[in-house]
Symmetry: C2
Subunit: 784 residues, 2 copies
């Protein structure tokens, strides 16, 4: 075949004189790129390179390194397997099942989704009520103190009270996160993104995580940090879904013996998607947005029935929240609280827009993109600083407490020095602070700062023009921006949606006021600009587009503004992407997660499976010696999870694939035979044994195999997947990628013409290639 | 491997004594099911069985047959190929392309989507304005006549005028459809569903089809048929997308030489999805609904960037429509006409709902499901009648004209005999007919009948309680139900959305009035029940759930009713599915289209690739004799489209796959060499040659190959896809199905252990198996 091949240049660097001449493609196993082509960057001194094939890495200049792991891929993360292992056990079970059985299974899926919705709604309701109660208590106490000391002097006592209360709440929250369950830190959205993408983040969907998350978020919001309680709802929904769908909790060692069929990655992933959607739905009252969020972030293979179930869970979740909040608010049956954040009713503000406003909105999108990129860059450097210096739990807790106190102090200072007074109108204001204003007036800076962020957002959207002076808004934007940026990444569980919305709403309103001043009140209502600003800011920071549009449209309850919001979000995304990635993606990268994006890098057609795959591969025979299996599984330096099974005769052709987890279960149950050709095989194992062990398969070290047993044989034929997907060695990377991504594979066997095993492609092999500033880059694998 | 296999029973019929004992699985090529297991039903007398493997079909009792083709699969339909043929030409082009080139390509995709949106919006705008003008003229003329003859007597002259006008419009419309482009009949949604599913419906995305569709729908709506103009917009959008994305029109023989990269099935499908979404968006003012419609009906592999582009096209489309309609209505910049159908503003009707209303809504869902099933069954029998007796174009036109006249007559009679008079209130009524009412009053039956269906729907949603008497609504529902059922399937281009909404709104309003009467006006507003009824009826007839929910929510402009609407739609779907399939699915089945659903039949795990595949397969060698290729391509009895390419040495291993279309282009350009080992191969062909020929590849008969040339050789290596996806013979049907569906394959090669070609799985092999009343059924292939 090589006679018709030509030398191909490396596209984006075609004219670069420094590029070495490529060797012909498909022409042997030599690597195509010298180290000057694929840039290898990394913290090499501290990592174990598993995949250092051409030895070029040690040449790298270590002085240029920055001590974070963005340019590495951690091999610590295992993958989830969204491809069913269709072994004989499975096929026989499926064949035994009647049509009625399948119908019943389908019914159970719907039932589980209903429960997911109900519990997610209840958790949201609980968070909402407790946060409201605690905040009320806190602000009440602080207000009383301020009123007392405003005239008598000694306001610093009020400040100390406020800061102490905040610090106390945050102390409790961050202690829980730092010492009980660190994975509950942050919003949890990056973790759920990874899970849905197929990466197993340890402990992310456990009951303990949920509890820490829920109480943690209550503490951080009540503690007055610049955070929201919406992001964590998505994580909470996902944990609830994982728990309910498995019908048991391993943390509490309680197995309800229901839903056992769903105990595998494929089914569990589907329910986790539904849970995440239910979480979005409860957080924003946006069921369709929830479905789109799940799809945008997770599912690769779109299935109609699955989507309906996800939608159903979302609907139930917002309905449950709505229903119980209506009872709590004393108006049962009044279903007007569909989400945790309520943007309020946009009546006149967003009924219509004019054509000439569209360029203005897009300008706001550009601003949002720039501010968002700034936010992300600052947070990026801050996170690297934290990785380097603030990695001890005590330090993390101390930082969180410090931020809480500083937040209170900044807020207090802003209110103290503000001279923006408004008279108490007819509309009720929560916690109006008089401070140094005249009687019958209140401080409008306090409306923004002396409140939960949700209420501040609503106030910026709806309060009548003229409530806020421009300098108040400007100062607020600046200080809140810095606070929010400092806060995200702290060891507390909290989201970034609401702070983004608040920053955006503040500068959006400021923008609207400036417009109105400069153009004779043609743009009378600053509320709509607050909304557009909020969208632009959120888009600039998190960069989701489709689902965010729908979430914001649903949260405003008005579809008229769909097009402007979408344009703003896309503009913000394009502008932001020019500078830096989205916040969640930055944090995923900093965790060195082998995340597979939607598409392979566009310029990766030059790579083939031959270059991408890991080889040589450890294979087993169909009937394999127990001792060999134990030795290979115990080898910590390889730690492979999937093993091709090959035929006994030469040439050793591929005839199946078996997973570490399956081998572990087989070893645990000692499914051994004495001799190779023994026909005394007793079918001892059922699928139930595998399901019972799922997902926490014991480590190989915990399984004792005696010397006698080591001489026995294990017949893998019944348990291996006899028809794994394969590709030839010449398959291009995009083609491998598409197969991998579309089917949610964990292992893809690369075979030669004769069906002999040549290599194995795993998630890490594909995630390694990404598009950098200099073209295609290859990340290093690290054992961290 | 067979020593560990057991005999497996056929699950759902385990206790049936008549079932023959199965042969062991994986144990040879014998078929597993006797004819009593898989029910083979079909019109065997007239069809050519391509796949009659076990000869059992001739035993079937022919007296039970009904003369339609629902139980057959037509082999006439070719498949689209959503898997790129990654041959050397393609890979070299991709490798040559720089990163900037890929970015530019991406930009062009967005540009094409923008154009799709703009043109779809313009077409919608054109249809809307022309229909409105023509209807106005018609109703004005008829009204004048009625006013003139009401007192003078001789109203039958008015009736004749009305009927003649209707018939004239419909005559023009159906003549166009019947004689110029029959594929433009109906709503086009089943055709677009098939296209997105991967079935090539001939001529469905041509310019001629678009023109006939647009003018046809204008004629049928202006002709007063019980039809809507919304469904055809989806088809129109799809045609526009296909046209723009290819940068040329083959009908007009005009090639703009742009967007040449997009000339393949993969890219074209993506744009057609966007076009369909833009069509929904323009029809209902529902951009998110449009995206979901495209995804629900079409895309299997969800891609984030693609979804954003689809969303973009949808947004642009509704915006364009909105913008131009605002200019037309004399209020430029007032963007309040986002779609062709405007449900009007729901203010008080749907602000909130009470919990106790949910069971009531679900009851309405049940009613909608039952009425929908009745509608579908009646239409099903009517369609069979039409297939049997009304297949000549002249008869079809005559039937359409007949229906038009009857529609006018029924409407006239209903108005004539109605005694439901209302006084002209303050709100303006379009075309108020006084008839025999007192002065200052008008006939309320005429509000429903003497109007375009869109306006009638709006009136039923929003007119104040008491406008319609219950008997008026009951009579209207019944007569409109029968008319709409008769109309769907006529040889005119028209949709079924609006008639469904209208029927549902009518009985929903009736339901609301009855509730209000029976329970002391606790349910004061019948408008909300009209909305729920409309949703229930639409759900009962077409059975889409997720996208319909969103479409209705977007069209009402209010998200509060999301949950009730979703519950109603799901109830209607479940109830309806119990009786009969959705209307579109029925029509797809009656066309014998090999449609692949989302999932394989649940009980199909017992089948493996070995049973499913077609074999033996005609293979080519890498360097093949031209004569043999011509002979095989010319063989009309096989008419294969994909040919595995095998190596020259024994054993003949698979080394590629080549398509009929590629061979045709090679033959056309005479890419021949004299001898087998000639190294004088001149690279004459480029991808451009294949793209220029796409999609209308000439038939083999049109290519002249001389006797000398027949002796030459053709080197296929550069053009074949060297890495086709393969599966082993033991792969279960669900696994094959998943691979096929997720990747949008057209051919899947089945290989044995040694990588020798054993068979080929195509769409028809998979679509053949479906779940019938008696378990898994197998459809026959027919040459019709």
């Amino acid at each position: 075949m090589s006679n018709i091949m030509k030398k191909v240049s490396w596209s984006s660097r075609e004219d670069d004189p420094g590029v070495a001449e490529r060797t012909p493609l498909l022409n042997g196993t030599s690597r195509q790129f010298s180290s000057s082509d694929i840039f290898r960057i990394g913290r090499l001194s501290t990592v174990d390179l598993e995949d250092d094939k051409d030895g070029s890495s040690s040449e790298l200049n270590q002085t240029e390194e920055i001590p974070h792991n963005e340019k590495l891929l951690s091999v610590r993360y295992e993958s989830l397997d969204y491809d069913n292992s269709e072994n004989q056990l499975f096929l026989e079970e499926e064949r035994r099942m009647s049509l009625l059985g399948f119908r019943f299974l389908e019914f159970k899926r719907w039932l589980v989704c209903a429960f997911i919705g109900i519990f997610t709604g209840l958790v949201a309701c609980f968070i909402d009520i407790v946060v409201e109660k605690l905040s009320d208590l806190k602000y009440h106490a602080v207000k009383q103190s301020i009123v007392k000391f405003t005239e008598a002097g000694g306001l610093c006592i009020s400040l100390i009270l406020w800061a102490t209360l905040n610090a106390a709440f945050v102390l409790v929250g961050s202690l829980m996160v730092a010492f009980i369950e660190p994975v509950a830190a942050g919003s949890g959205i990056p973790q759920i993104k990874c899970y849905l993408n197929g990466v197993k983040i340890p402990r992310v969907v456990r009951l303990k995580t949920l509890l820490v998350k829920v109480f943690g978020v209550i503490c951080s919001v009540a503690g007055g940090l610049a955070v929201g309680k919406e992001g964590p709802m998505i994580h909470s929904g996902a944990v609830i879904a994982a728990g309910i769908s498995q019908g048991r909790t391993t943390s509490l060692k309680k197995d309800f013996k229901i839903f056992e069929y769903f105990r595998r990655d494929t089914e569990k992933r589907d329910f986790v998607s539904a849970g995440a959607a239910a979480g979005v739905s409860a957080a924003f009252g946006a069921p369709v947005g929830g479905v789109l969020f799940s799809l945008e972030e997770g599912a690769s293979f779109w299935n109609q029935m699955l989507t309906w179930r996800i939608f159903f869970a979302s609907m139930i979740s917002t309905f449950t929240l709505n229903f119980f909040l209506s009872i709590y608010h004393g108006k049962p049956g009044d279903l007007s609280n569909p989400g945790l954040i309520n943007f309020g009713r946009f009546e006149d503000e967003v009924k219509e827009y004019n054509l000439y406003e569209i360029p203005i909105f897009m300008c706001m999108g550009v601003i949002g993109g720039i501010i968002g990129a700034l936010f992300n860059s600052l947070n990026y450097w801050l996170t690297i600083f934290r990785i380097r210096y603030v990695h001890r739990p005590f330090l993390q807790v101390a930082e969180a407490v410090l931020v809480a106190s500083v937040t209170a102090t900044v807020a207090f200072a802003m209110i103290y020095f503000s001279e923006d007074c408004k008279s108490l109108g007819e509309e009720p204001v929560e916690h109006p602070l008089q401070m140094f204003c005249k009687d019958g007036e209140y401080n409008s800076m306090a409306t923004a700062f002396f409140n939960t962020p949700e209420k501040s957002v609503r106030s910026l959207f709806h309060d009548p023009p003229g409530l806020y002076k421009p300098q108040t808004l400007g100062l607020f934007t600046l200080s809140y921006f810095l606070l929010a940026c400092w806060t995200y990444g702290l060891t507390v569980s909290a989201g970034v949606f609401i702070p983004s919305l608040l920053i955006g709403a503040a500068w959006g309103r400021l923008f609207g006021i400036c417009l109105a001043t400069s153009s004779n009140s043609m743009f009378a209502d600053p509320g709509r600009y607050a909304l557009i600003g909020a969208a632009a800011q959120l888009g600039g920071i998190v960069r989701m587009t489709l689902s965010l549009t729908v979430i914001i449209v649903e949260a405003t309850g008005n579809v008229t503004f769909g097009l402007p919001i979408m344009l703003v979000l896309i503009t913000a995304k394009i502008v932001g992407d020019y500078f830096v990635e989205g916040l969640y993606d930055i944090h995923i990268k900093l965790q060195s997660v082998p995340f597979l994006h939607w598409e392979p890098p566009p310029t990766s057609h030059a790579l083939t499976a031959r270059e991408v795959m890991s080889s040589p591969v450890i294979c087993f025979k169909q009937v394999e010696k127990v001792g060999k299996i134990v030795d290979i599984l115990s080898n910590t330096s390889t730690n492979h999870n999937g093993f091709p099974v090959v035929c006994d005769q030469e040439p050793k052709r591929l005839c199946g694939l078996i997973l570490r987890s399956q081998l572990i279960v087989l070893l645990k149950h000692k499914v051994f035979v004495e001799r190779v050709n023994s026909s005394l095989i007793q079918r001892k194992l059922q699928l139930k044994d595998f399901r019972d062990a799922y997902p926490r398969f014991p480590p190989i070290q915990s399984i004792h195999v005696s010397q006698d047993e080591r001489q026995c044989m294990m017949d893998l034929r019944e348990f291996m997947n006899p028809t794994p997907y394969t590709v030839p060695q010449e398959t291009s990377l995009p083609r491998v990628f598409k197969l991998f991504r579309a089917l949610g594979l964990r292992h893809l066997v690369v075979v030669d013409d004769e069906n002999k095993v040549m290599g194995l492609v795993t998630r890490k092999d594909l995630a390694r290639y990404h598009l950098g500033k200099h073209g295609l880059e290859e990340l290093h694998l690290a054992q961290t």
